[in-house]
């Protein structure tokens, strides 16, 4: 995307869904996720005035991450268990299937619960990678740690998820 003349509406259109799903998978709660997405877009709206064209994704996900951390500090909120609204969409799980297929159609709430049990740093890295689709370098830029740290967090996060869901 061209950074020139970017408006918050553009960002909402192109990244709103990703921001919302990032927040949802980190909190496990759709209402908190919506509040967070709104907070992020308001920060974007205020921040675009001084935004220097460059790594847009780094800038946006740094804002998103900070909004989430500020929210945790403000509310001292713990992640909540997900609502059962995902069960319908994952109805495939009732169909008998080989083990390796079963693993991939595991109920969403199980996976969400496992995500919420991960240490925050691992969950953040895994969600940025596999839900948002950021590269390791983009995640490292947003989080402010070396790429090697992100490698480690993603691998250990996935290892713990696999353990919990086996």
């Amino acid at each position: 995307m061209s950074d020139v003349g970017l408006t918050w509406e553009d960002v909402a259109r192109t990244h709103g869904r990703k921001i919302y799903n990032f927040a949802y998978r980190l909190t496990g709660n759709p209402d908190d996720a919506a509040d967070l997405a709104q907070d992020v877009l308001i920060r974007v709206k205020r921040g675009l005035a001084t935004y220097q064209p460059g790594s847009f994704d780094g800038w946006l996900w740094r804002i998103t991450r900070n909004a989430f951390l500020d929210d945790i500090r403000r509310k001292k909120r713990r992640p909540t268990v997900p609502l059962p609204d995902e069960v319908d969409r994952m109805a495939l799980a009732s169909v008998p299937a080989p083990d390796h297929v079963l693993a991939q159609v595991r109920l969403g709430p199980d996976v969400q619960n496992a995500l919420l049990k991960l240490p925050h740093d691992f969950r953040e890295a895994v969600v940025m990678c596999d839900i948002v689709g950021l590269s390791y370098a983009e995640i490292a830029g947003a989080v402010g740690v070396p790429v090697g740290t992100i490698r480690s967090r993603i691998h250990r996060g996935r290892g713990q998820l696999r353990e919990m869901l086996s």
Partner: protein, 143 residues
């Protein structure tokens, strides 16, 4: 030879350098432990990627559209009011002190308004009135 460990997820994600990738591929040919670990990482990734992607509620953007650019916006007025009561400490020390007896420290209402980002208006104050306000706030903005 040491195991590939955390390089395995990076390998899966196409995040290794060419040299690292050659090493991992070579190691995987003979190490069943790393083959299993790679399979575990692959399955965990597939499960997370299979989570449904939800649509953002439309009220989110309408709330952003109506928010002013220059002021922090509190999304939940009641929750914010409670937090503000705890965080902000606003004390009106003096009010309606007349010009004939100037206070030791003079702070005009306009200055206070600017500091607190309140509307700079003296409407409703008696002529010559001064308000002395001491404000403390955790984030520097008392509202």
């Amino acid at each position: 030879m040491s195991h590939s460990g955390e390089l395995l997820s990076a390998y899966l994600d196409g995040e290794l350098t060419k040299a690292e990738e050659l090493n991992v591929v070579g190691h995987l040919e003979t190490c069943t432990r790393c083959q299993t670990e790679l399979g575990d990482s692959h399955e965990a990734r597939a499960m997370v990627r299979a989570l449904p992607i939800l649509d953002m509620p439309t009220w989110v953007t309408s709330g952003v559209a109506s928010s002013p650019v220059e002021l922090p916006v509190r999304r939940r007025p009641l929750a914010w009011a409670a937090a503000a009561a705890a965080a902000a400490f606003v004390l009106v020390v003096g009010f309606a002190t007349f010009v004939a007896t100037p206070p030791a420290i003079e702070i005009t209402f306009t200055e206070i308004s600017n500091t607190l980002r309140l509307p700079a208006s003296q409407d409703g104050l008696p002529p010559g009135a001064r308000a002395v306000v001491i404000a403390r706030s955790s984030d520097g903005i008392a509202e």
